[in-house]
């Protein structure tokens, strides 16, 4: 029994680690999409910043420097997306797709040019990564039943970026509902002309949202290559940006819903990797592929309208044009 409890806690612990980039990207997606800009470039921004973080960390031996450059690169990509889709009123999906393709090609090309390791960065050393941090008292109370074990196994022992991700959710929720910027952000995605006629710039509000999304994707990317992993591998995001997008939709563009969806998706992935090769009673080999496919199936089912109604921001995908 104790052993099963520990197994469960370890799975939750893994869930937190797997869900971190999803949570960061989903919050990024909420900012972009609440402002009315479709953001499929979460994937590309995360990939590019993962590469930038690992490269800079490797060259400067500083994980923090890597993180800062990663955020910078990701914000630049966000601004590029804004230039194409807000200022030049291009198609937001195509602009996002272009960023993804750009990231996919550029990371490998530049990676080979710098390190000559087939697009990978060298394996990062201790100081070049964000290390897990044991919270105070984790060892002392770690043996207390339930509360103590949860504290030690699930809450403690992560790197700072994991906690950052969870904090981001709270901050996002507060910004959206309690601040002036949040009010304007929600308005611009629903009815940009209302904001315009109230004397607030639609373009500025959207750019600001895209910059915030860029920062969050940058952190997610840095997490992948310099905290969760120890170096950049080509295509290392492996569709996580799209899963985050799905989680955001699953969570109905709300921070809490998106968080729960990310945790669910993360949990399924953690379970799948724990069950790899395990023989279950009655079923036989664990259906790992099926478990991994569940997030996608759930998203499709949601979008088809079976699990409540997903209401996207009304003006999403439409460039704002004032003059006829």
């Amino acid at each position: 029994m104790v052993d099963l409890w520990l197994q469960f806690l370890l799975t939750l612990d893994a869930t937190c680690r797997v869900a971190t980039p999803l949570i960061l990207c989903a919050m990024a997606g909420i900012f972009s999409e609440k402002s009315g800009v479709i953001d499929i470039s979460l994937e590309g921004k995360m990939l590019m910043s993962a590469f930038a973080a690992a490269t800079v960390a490797s060259l400067t031996s500083s994980a923090l420097a890597g993180l800062i450059v990663a955020i910078g690169i990701s914000v630049l990509l966000g601004l590029l997306h804004g230039l194409a889709s807000v200022t030049l009123r291009g198609n937001q999906v195509i602009s996002g797709l272009a960023i993804n393709i750009l990231a996919s090609g550029l990371t490998v090309t530049v990676g080979i040019a710098i390190f000559q390791q087939g697009g990978q960065t060298p394996t990062l050393e201790r100081d070049e990564r964000f290390r897990p941090v044991e919270l105070p008292l984790a060892e002392q109370i770690g043996n207390f039943p339930v509360v103590g074990t949860i504290y030690k196994e699930v809450i403690s022992g992560h790197n700072i970026l994991v906690w950052t991700a969870f904090a981001t959710v709270i901050v996002t929720a507060i910004v959206l509902t309690k601040t002036r910027f949040g009010l304007r952000l929600r308005a611009v995605g629903e009815k940009p002309e209302a904001l315009d006629s109230a004397g607030v710039s639609v373009a500025k509000t959207r750019y600001f949202a895209l910059i915030i999304a860029g920062v969050l994707c940058g952190i997610a990317g840095a997490y992948l290559s310099t905290a969760h992993g120890s170096g950049f591998v080509r295509e290392m995001t492996a569709g996580k940006g799209y899963i985050a997008l799905a989680a955001m939709i699953f969570g109905k563009w709300q921070p809490r819903g998106a968080l729960l969806a990310c945790l669910l998706f993360g949990f399924l992935e953690a379970v799948a990797s724990r069950l790899q090769g395990v023989q279950l009673p009655l079923i036989g080999a664990a259906p790992v592929d099926l478990i991994l496919a569940l997030p996608y199936l759930l998203t499709v089912i949601l979008l088809a309208g079976f699990v409540g109604k997903a209401m996207p921001p009304r003006a999403i995908g439409e460039p704002y044009i004032k003059e006829r």
């Binding site: 601040t179 002036r180 308005a187 009815k191 209302a194 006629s197 004397g199 004032k322």
Partner: protein, 527 residues
């Protein structure tokens, strides 16, 4: 007849809230405002009247900073002021109630009013302050509205109040209203006018844009008339009259009344029996609609737009199949199980002039000759078998252009380049020339100038004399009342009542349109 762009005379002693001179604005080839000048006396209700496309909306959009003028100057309260965006206009004390409301549908009233004027980074603090200010404004001007309601749950009349509150909250001393009554029932319009009078008493200057003569006469102190992008006249309202204004708007004498003798209806053409339409969400559903339409009779359907009229036309024209019940055309039953598409109905003698002519009436990039045979291209005289004959098309189109006074009479001209009135005549010519048994007409004169309205109404009456059954759906009550032999009123997807031509007056129709009597829980019922 006044000269174009005449200057207002005298009045120099009164302080001017707005002083525009020689405003010009072009959109591509269209010269929307030509040397427009306008002087509005502080504390007056000033009307601008003109037909659709006369440039009224462009002018006030320039004043509110939505567009910038190509040239010309703007003085507000005597001070020259460049207005390049809405923030400038708001800062100068100008507020605007747009024709299409600028409200975020899923926000509360309070959030909408605060938006862009929060007065701090945190909105919970701002909300408390705003609530106090708004409660005072509501009391001062009789603008009651629940601040915590979600906008999309409010009737349009109340949404409009929110727009007015929004402007006042931002400190507006000059309030512009662009076609504010288009979406209101007559009672709601009266209430709006009460609010405007209260505003005037408190010293607010009101600029009212409309194409309805009656409203100008009812509420304004001064009136300016626009035609084809130019300001053609300024009058004091008590010195002018509807016929004079109509003449100034159109540029020639207009007959405002149509000749309408009692109908002598024949047999039943359309019998609608317990017709229902389900639709996702409650809006747009039809509930148990039953009525009969006879040959040689015009039945008008009145109602505030969005109460199921469009859906009724869609079902009767075969675009949407009914969910339950159905209707008979000359005895043939159409229902969910025995559906009919528009082509089948056309063969049964049903013609349809759709509400939205750009979407469904014509194909904008097609030539007039092509648009004028849409749906009837299989008829034998337009070509031989599979082939369209350009010559026959051309002659056919020329003939109809002459009969229906379509200008310019050029079959090759692209449909989108005709004026609204002439586009509507193209659709009418097509449908009427098919000699239908039943004609369904949605918004016969929406976006059509007064001259063309007169012509279209005459055509419909003539068709009635010829024995056609005509169903007219319109949001213009005057139009319904002047054309119809009988009037049915729709509210919330149901027919809530019917009146004969003689029984109908605005007050009775207005109450029925608001659903009073049919729905006692109506938001207006308690007032």
């Amino acid at each position: 007849m006044a000269q174009p762009n005449e200057k207002p005379s005298g009045e120099t002693s009164l302080p001017l809230a707005i002083d525009l001179s020689n405003i010009n604005k072009r959109f591509g080839d269209v010269h929307a405002n030509k040397d427009v000048s306008l002087q509005v006396v502080s504390g007056h209700i000033h009307g601008i009247i003109g037909e659709n496309g006369a440039g009224k909306s462009t002018l006030v959009s320039i004043l509110y900073g939505f567009y910038t003028a190509d040239s010309g100057s703007i003085k507000i309260n005597g001070v020259a002021t460049p207005i390049v965006n809405s923030a400038d206009a708001i800062a100068r004390g100008i507020g605007m109630v747009h024709q299409h409301f600028m409200l975020v549908p899923n926000f509360t009233v309070l959030e909408n009013v605060m938006l862009g004027h929060e007065g701090g980074l945190r909105i919970d603090v701002a909300a408390q302050n705003a609530r106090q200010t708004l409660e005072k404004l509501s009391a001062d001007f009789g603008l009651d509205v629940d601040l915590d309601m979600i906008i999309e749950d409010l009737p349009v009349g109340l949404q409009q109040r929110v727009e007015i509150l929004k402007a006042l909250f931002r400190g507006a001393e000059i309030l512009i209203l662009d076609e504010p009554t288009g979406v209101l029932t007559p009672q709601e319009t009266e209430r709006l006018f009460d609010v405007l009078r209260a505003l005037r008493e408190q010293g607010v200057t009101v600029l009212l844009i409309t194409h309805k003569l009656k409203e100008i006469m009812a509420i304004t102190d001064d009136v300016s008339v626009m035609r084809a992008g130019q300001m053609v006249a300024h009058r004091k309202t008590f010195e002018t009259s509807p016929p004079e204004l109509a003449e100034l708007m159109v540029g020639r004498k207009v007959v405002l009344k149509v000749d309408h003798s009692p109908a002598s209806p024949g047999g039943d053409v359309l019998v609608v029996a317990d017709l229902c339409l389900n639709s996702p969400g409650s809006a747009g559903a039809l509930k148990d609609i039953s009525f009969t339409l006879r040959a040689g009779e015009i039945v008008g359907i009145a109602g505030v737009s969005g109460n199921g009229q469009s859906e009724l036309l869609d079902v009767l024209s075969g675009i949407t199949p009914p969910s339950r019940g159905g209707f008979y055309i000359d005895g043939r039953y159409i229902s969910r199980k025995t559906p009919a598409n528009p082509a089948i109905l056309r063969d049964l003698g049903v013609a349809h002039v759709p509400e939205d002519r750009h979407k469904r009436g014509i194909v904008l990039p097609f030539s007039a000759a092509e648009s004028i045979i849409l749906g009837y291209s299989a008829a034998s005289d337009e070509g031989e078998g599979w082939w369209l004959s350009p010559e026959t098309l051309d002659t056919h189109c020329r003939r109809l252009m002459q009969d229906f006074d379509i200008r310019p009479p050029n079959p090759k001209l692209v449909s989108g380049n005709f004026s609204g009135g002439n586009q509507q005549k193209i659709v009418l010519a097509r449908e009427i020339s098919a000699q239908p048994r039943l004609l369904l007409v949605g918004q016969p004169t929406r976006g059509v100038d007064i001259g063309a309205i007169e012509f279209i109404h005459k055509q419909l009456i003539a068709l009635r004399y010829a024995g056609c059954a005509i169903l007219v759906v319109s949001v213009e009550l005057d139009e319904i009342m002047s054309l119809s032999d009988r009037i049915l009123v729709m509210n919330n997807g149901q027919l809530v009542g019917g009146l004969t031509r003689d029984e109908a007056d605005e007050r009775r129709l207005g109450l029925m349109m608001a659903g009073i009597g049919a729905d006692d829980h109506s938001i207006w019922a308690s007032r």
